[in-house]
């Protein structure tokens, strides 16, 4: 589904601040994979997502999505096939516009001059009802009035309204309180399962990384240092991951946020 061949990216190349953010990354994601990505801050997890989404062009390597070479495709064109959620719930929706208007843009139906039809409206309501947050009765309300959890759930709905080939979740529950986080995660799982989406999820929560998905990847200093799938992944524990990190990175993992 998604293939990265020797992808590298250096920020501020040629200056004293040069930093190798992605170091020769090769990754093959199979259709239907749900991959958890863990790693300390600055390991390159979000940078990897940015490279796939096209927030910047990579220095080297090729990125193939579902057979199409997207290495040089602009960000907005890739977005047709890639849905993405950020840690910041404010990032994925337009606060000054209503829920319905946000959904209309995400749905992207019809020509440029078409407007929201009655049927679209009903579909929006049905989809919103699945979130079970009462948003289906507030479609005219500005998105800026919603809580962080509601907004993230809405963003999830928007990102998957037309099921994308690839869904990227960048710590999308980290800014939410535990109860809301749980709810958004459950929603994520049901949407991913219902649409059989291929999904990559960055998380700082090792237990969550172990509980969800069929494959786990650990990154450090812009490289993938550990990759386990299927049976092997199922038997992993948090202790195993810590041990793996020590072996691969040559130092123990001391980031508090990763011990959760």
């Amino acid at each position: 589904m998604l293939e990265l061949f020797h992808v590298s990216k250096t920020f501020n190349a040629g200056t004293a601040d040069a930093r190798l953010a992605l170091n020769d990354i090769s990754l093959h994601v199979h259709p239907g994979d749900f991959i958890s990505i863990i790693g300390a801050n600055g390991a390159g997890k979000s940078t990897l997502f940015n490279a796939v989404c096209g927030s910047f062009l990579t220095d080297e390597g090729r990125i193939i999505l579902d057979g199409q070479d997207i290495t040089l495709l602009p960000e907005y064109k890739r977005a047709k096939n890639i849905g993405r959620l950020f840690q910041d719930p404010m990032k994925g929706s337009a606060p000054g516009m209503s829920i319905e208007e946000n959904l209309a843009l995400a749905a992207g139906k019809g020509g440029w001059l078409s407007s929201v039809s009655k049927r679209d409206r009903e579909e929006f309501r049905d989809r919103l009802a699945l979130l079970d947050m009462g948003l289906e009765n507030r479609t005219g309300q500005a998105v800026g009035m919603l809580s962080g959890g509601q907004r993230q759930a809405l963003t999830l709905l928007m990102a998957t309204f037309n099921p994308p080939k690839l869904l990227l979740l960048d710590e999308h529950t980290a800014a939410l309180d535990p109860a809301t986080s749980e709810k958004v995660l459950a929603l994520t799982e049901s949407i991913v399962n219902d649409n059989r989406l291929t999904c990559l999820m960055v998380t700082h929560n090792m237990q969550m990384a172990l509980d969800m998905g069929n494959r786990i990847i650990m990154m450090n200093n812009g490289s993938i240092i550990f990759d386990a799938a299927g049976e092997e992944k199922r038997h992993l524990t948090v202790e195993d991951l810590m041990e793996q990190f020590k072996i691969a990175a040559g130092k123990s993992l001391d980031n508090d946020r990763m011990l959760l």
Binding site: Y76, A79, A94, G108, G110, S115
Partner: protein, 312 residues
């Protein structure tokens, strides 16, 4: 002041307010919706006036309107192109286009800075002929402008509901979200500024034809005047739905002109218009900001006072 006087003042404010309210509607699109402060507005307004006048003088009163709007689209396109494709800061792009337009405007008028339309048939004189003999005969200016304003409001309301219109609004609200909806924000910015440019030029064209002359300074300070009107309207109807907010923009233009006309009656010299509009913009933008800062300032002040008391 008699009732007739008041009516007369209202009439003047209405005539001036309506033609300039078109520029306010243009800023409603570019400033409020797209979140771009388009400083080429002055030049674009003059461009519309010059193109419209040149066209009307050569005997095409209706084509004048169309050509003025087309010229506005070109001006808006260049401003948008500079800021989205050439890496020029959006304020600077507007200023650059504004400067360049000065030369173009003089060229359009045929190497002069003043054109007279005293005997030129325009949409206004056409309307005057149509209304001759009816009770509305004296109101021909208001009627032409009203038709234009109504048409632009209806267009904006319908347009902002379309997918393209929503995308333009979202571009001003959260460009990241536009990109993730697989829409190119460069495209929406260009379309938005082209449309707002055409409305600004229409405003300039009608203003010139209503006053039967154009000079090169007709648009100077327009962006501040329109912004002041927009912010006044915003204070009344800013939190409502789009159609009401558009009407609010027109209302703002009317109120602004009314205040100005009344001030003129109290012997305020005409050249004060621009200072007044500048001050209104400062108050309208700085006011809400200072209001949020007020509790903080108050706390600092009391703390300082207490501190001084302790030291003494």
């Amino acid at each position: 002041m008699t009732f007739i006087d008041v009516m007369g003042l209202g009439q003047t404010a209405l005539e001036l307010g309506l033609t300039s309210s078109l520029t306010v509607l243009a800023l409603f699109l570019s400033y409020t919706m797209l979140n771009v402060c388009d400083l080429s507005t002055d030049g674009c307004f003059t461009l519309g006036a010059c193109v419209g006048a040149a066209c009307a003088i050569s005997g095409h009163p209706y084509l004048a309107i169309v050509m003025a709007m087309v010229s506005g689209v070109c001006s808006g396109f260049i401003t948008a192109f500079l800021q989205t494709k050439m890496g020029i800061n959006s304020l600077l792009a507007g200023i650059i286009v504004n400067t360049g337009l000065y030369s173009i405007n003089i060229a359009v008028m045929g190497n002069t800075s003043l054109l007279n339309m005293n005997t030129t048939p325009t949409v206004y004189t056409k309307m005057k002929e149509i209304l001759a003999g009816t009770p509305l005969a004296g109101q021909f200016r208001v009627i032409v402008s009203l038709i234009a304003v109504a048409a632009v409001i209806v267009f904006l309301c319908l347009f902002l509901k379309t997918r393209l219109g929503l995308a333009i609004r979202a571009t001003g609200n959260n460009p990241d979200m536009v990109r993730s909806s697989s829409i190119n924000p460069v495209f929406t910015t260009i379309i938005g500024l082209c449309i707002s440019g055409s409305i600004t030029a229409l405003s300039g064209c009608l203003t010139a034809q209503a006053q039967k002359s154009v000079n090169i300074d007709i648009g100077s300070g327009m962006v501040t005047i329109a912004l002041a009107s927009l912010l006044i309207g915003n204070a009344f109807l800013g939190r409502r739905k789009i159609p009401l907010r558009a009407v609010g923009a027109v209302l703002g233009a009317f109120i602004f002109r009314l205040v100005y006309t009344v001030a003129l009656r109290f012997d305020m010299p005409a050249f004060m218009l621009k200072l007044v509009s500048a001050i209104i913009v400062v108050i309208a933008i700085a006011g809400p900001y200072l209001k949020t800062r007020f509790p903080e300032l108050k706390r600092r002040m009391t703390a300082r006072k207490d501190g001084r008391g302790r030291n003494a």
